[in-house]
Symmetry: C2
Subunit: 143 residues, 2 copies
């Protein structure tokens, strides 16, 4: 997975076969587009929950503990806009809406789950690293 590339910059992330794209304006090659989504506070948790099957709005809100109505709306709208989530409205009374992953979204799920598993596997290691860092650097103010 690591071919013999010489000076590689951060944008040539995938390895040799990936387009370096090398535009100063887009140093991240659109990776940020996805990362901004994966990175925000709620998207991943919503995606993971949806990976267990379709969910309705309130159901999602209850599952993703702590999310506000507003943020759930925003999150799920953005995911829909990106084509990762499909939103279906049933014209019942009261209204009923469900959300499910699209195929694209499901593909991302695997990566997200891998990340989640990695997190769980290394949380202790990281926690210990932090403790020892904080001991050796008292009052560093880093969080």
């Amino acid at each position: 997975m690591s071919p013999g590339h010489t000076e590689v910059t951060v944008e040539a992330v995938g390895a040799a076969e990936l387009e370096p794209c090398g535009q100063p304006e887009h140093p991240d090659c659109g990776i940020r587009d996805v990362l901004d989504r994966v990175g925000d506070k709620w998207s991943v948790l919503v995606i993971v929950e949806l990976s267990n099957g379709p969910r309705r709005f309130r159901q999602l809100q209850r599952a993703v503990d702590g999310i506000s109505q507003r943020m759930l709306t925003l999150t799920v709208r953005r995911l829909e806009r990106d084509g990762l989530v499909l939103r279906t409205v049933y014209p019942t009374v009261p209204a009923q809406v469900d959300y499910r992953l699209t195929e694209t979204g499901a593909g991302l799920t695997h990566l997200v789950k891998a990340l989640a598993e990695w997190s769980l596997e290394h949380r202790d290691t990281i926690a210990r690293a932090r403790q020892s860092y904080d001991q050796e650097h008292p009052g560093s103010g880093i969080r």
Copy 2:
């Protein structure tokens, strides 16, 4: 919240084999700890750059286009604190410092690269999805 919930919640992320951990206080099981790092604006780009080998401070700053001195400092410090990056100071004049991934950090790199590759593979699909969403939902205000 329901103490003995049988409902599958977002924390049962990996699937059946992952610890549900089920603490209302830590619904994310520490996934957030890692996600917060992966999610912030610069960590991933720094990690990816470091995956190409050790880098010095200025070198990193030049590679990660657009990062400010302050944010680079904060980012590498946090990565160091988490045990993902090793910081080595050489007592030369002027000072010389290099950063390299720890083994833990290198492990995360693989996932991050997978994410980056996925991003590149799907950026067009996502871009098209956004376009069509924006057409069908004019003035929705979603970004």
